[in-house]
Amino acid sequence: MSSLSGATLDAISLLAGGDAQLWGIIGISFRVSTTAILIAIPPSLLIAFLLAYGRFPGRRLLISVFSTLLSLPAVVVGLTLYLVLSRHGPLGDWRLLFSQTAMVMGQIVLCVPILVAMGHSALQAADRRAWETARTLGAGPLRAVLTVMHEVRFGLFAALLAAYGRIIAEVGASMMLGGNILNYTRNIPTAIALETSKGEFAQGIALGIVLLVLAFILNGLLHYLQGKGRFAV
């Protein structure tokens, strides 16, 4: 275990020392996942809202589908998109395979179900009077939607964190679609997988700790921005 603390210290000193390669990997991780979640949020929340407040045939089924998609393995997403993006695939001409764009696509597919299912759960718990009061006070549908979302912002925030946690730590899709190419598509999880496959456990765990430390900082920052921690009751 001493090699572990050693490797963690090493990793942290590399971090602190601004090691270009390590920071490059970290940058790719956060850039890809942040892009993915930013793209995924608006449609997901809209779907979540419609599922919670809309009344249309097939709504129940759709809710079931999205909660089923929570069990979608990352590898399967990776594989499927691989087949789509691969030269033979329908989008083969875009030549996106083994690029960060492909990774972003994979992570979007992975985080949409979480955002929808958790967002739906938060929105359906909102007091119906929130929507009604907004409308009756003259808010248009869009403003009323935003109002309801503001009312359940803690729940939506938790959904966001869960989705982000899922994709920042995800390895299956990134590996397949990015190819784990150094300086180009290697992110923290694929780097951990690589170190692990080499038997360099300490390096792997050290990278994991780096990821968690950065996630913790990001988390704290978000909590802070999100209104001085009124996250809790």
Binding site: S86, F98, G179, I181, L182, T196, S197, K198, G199
Partner: protein, 265 residues
């Protein structure tokens, strides 16, 4: 070739070449010499060939001669070129309960393990190593069975770890073994039989199937890696003071091959 991306070359290879550090030893020199940028995608042999077949990479470097031959025969690749070889070794617990170390051949070593029903962990993942192991069992006339024979379905490194944890035997390539030797409670119990020979080949993906593939780059890499300079670099790459790979390219043969391919393009 696609405009603007000519200098990027996608190489699908097995984890053994990447994990052993060989590529990090070779490719920077190649990139400096030729100006190409190589994107290494390290996966299992099966997946690497699959990526080649789909035209998602430009060149593959793998070690599964039969599968490689089929790959070329099916028209997915231009030609298999031998690059280097290393060998497989049978590793097992230090006390060698099956006495596999006393064998005179690889087949006999496996027979002893089977007879003793000592735990043997198989890669079980259709990789080059796995194919080799299966062919060895076949040649020894044994159909290995559970529970002593366990299919792990993982990479070489993981299987070595598992074997260490379970005090089991397994077949491994020497490169991975050298990388893991220090962390493993196992030792080599049998080695140096010619049947354990492990040749690596490099194949350019067929430009006839994928006209916009970076065939020039692939040929440049093949030419370079089989050139005396490349071969020398392979030959002097060591891990833990041991040589890992033996260069084996027939450089003269390759030169004519390259010019022939160039003519057809």
């Amino acid at each position: 070739a696609e405009a603007g991306n000519d200098h990027v070359l996608k190489l699908a290879t097995t984890t053994s070449t990447e994990n052993s550090g060989l590529l990090r030893h070779l490719l920077p020199v190649f990139e400096r010499d030729t100006g190409y940028k190589v994107h290494v995608i390290a996966v299992g042999t099966g997946k690497a060939l699959r990526m080649g077949r789909d035209g998602d990479v430009d060149v593959v470097l793998v070690h599964a001669p039969a599968a490689e031959q089929k790959f070329v025969d099916d028209g997915h690749g231009v030609k298999r070129v031998g690059v280097m070889y290393n060998d497989f070794v049978i590793v097992g617990p230090v006390d060698d309960p099956a006495a596999a170390g006393n064998s005179s051949s690889g087949n006999e070593a496996l027979s002893r393990i089977a007879k003793k029903k000592a735990v043997f962990i198989s890669r079980g993942d259709d990789s080059g190593t796995n194919k080799k192991e299966l062919s060895l069992w076949r040649e020894a006339g044994i159909r290995p069975q559970e529970p002593w024979y366990r299919e792990a379905g993982q990479g070489m490194g993981k299987v070595l770890q598992m074997a260490g944890e379970l005090s089991a035997y397994t077949l491994t390539d020497r490169g991975t073994w050298l990388a893991f030797m220090n962390k493993s409670p196992l030792r080599i119990v049998y080695q140096d039989d010619p049947v354990l020979f492990n040749p690596y080949g490099i194949i350019a993906v067929n430009p006839a199937r994928y006209p916009d593939i970076n065939y020039t780059g692939a040929q440049a890499l093949i030419k370079w890696i089989t050139s005396p300079a490349g071969q020398l670099l392979i030959g002097n790459y060591t891990v833990a003071d041991s040589l890992l790979f033996t260069p084996s390219a027939d450089t003269g043969h390759l030169a004519s091959e390259y010019s022939a391919a160039g003519k057809t393009e």
